[in-house]
């Protein structure tokens, strides 16, 4: 299946700061999905990106699909404690998941 690299693996953020997590592929993607998994929880669908250069926003979350459709990013502004969890990107019809970025927040 499709291989995607997610960086960073861990992100320790001061409450109120911004951060970005990245998902990179060596091949062109048809689409990319993002999921969030809270500690002890299950993955929850956040968004799907399909078009080259697409940007979508959900409140403090901004998702972007690269022009070449080989990478994607998730940017969170003004991080809150509710943002704690692991963020996964997923690709391909088999929904291959990246390794995830685990986010912790310092109050």
């Amino acid at each position: 299946g499709q291989q995607v690299m997610q960086i960073p693996q861990y992100q320790h953020v001061q409450e109120g700061e911004d951060f970005t997590t990245y998902c990179n592929s060596s091949t062109t993607l048809s689409n990319i999905q993002w999921y969030k998994q809270r500690p002890g929880g299950h993955p929850v669908f956040l968004i799907q990106l399909v078009k080259s250069g697409e940007v979508k926003k959900q409140k403090r979350l901004t998702f972007q699909f690269g022009e070449a459709k080989k990478n994607s990013s998730l940017h969170i502004t003004a991080t809150q404690t509710t943002d704690v969890g692991t963020y996964f990107c997923a690709v391909d019809y088999k929904l291959s998941f990246g390794a995830g970025t685990t986010v912790t927040v310092r109050a």
């Binding site: 999905q33 929880g41 299950h42 088999k94 929904l95 291959s96 998941f97 390794a99």
Partner: protein, 113 residues
């Protein structure tokens, strides 16, 4: 009202035993999946069924056998459990095999002792 429900939530069993995990979805989706999440949170697809037909069968030991009696149910039977089978198993569903936004169940934490 749970969209994708799995039972049991926790399963502790001895090596060599046989166990089953059940999954049901009430979303009307036609495709269901089993994923395994290891201790490092890596999520790997195991099986997928579309309208009761097996469409994805990743490299999984044949001790694992999925069964889909209808498109709303997907069960996972595991024979001769091994220590390495300890993980969280997630069921998921989507509409179509290139589904928009998979819905996951709450998971079954399997511990083999």
């Amino acid at each position: 009202d749970t969209a994708v429900s799995q039972t049991p939530k926790y399963l502790v069993t001895q090596m060599g035993n046989d166990k089953s995990i059940k999954c049901e979805q009430n979303l009307g989706h036609d495709t269901m999946y089993w994923y395994k999440q290891d201790s490092k949170k890596f999520l790997k697809i195991m099986f997928s069924y579309n309208n009761k037909e097996l469409i994805i069968n990743e490299t999984v030991p044949n001790r694992f056998s999925p069964k889909s009696p209808d498109k709303a149910h997907l069960n996972l039977h595991i024979n001769s459990l091994e220590l390495g089978d300890s993980a969280v198993y997630f069921c998921a569903s989507s509409q179509g095999i290139t589904g928009y936004g998979y819905t996951f169940g709450s998971g079954t934490r399997l511990t083999v002792v």
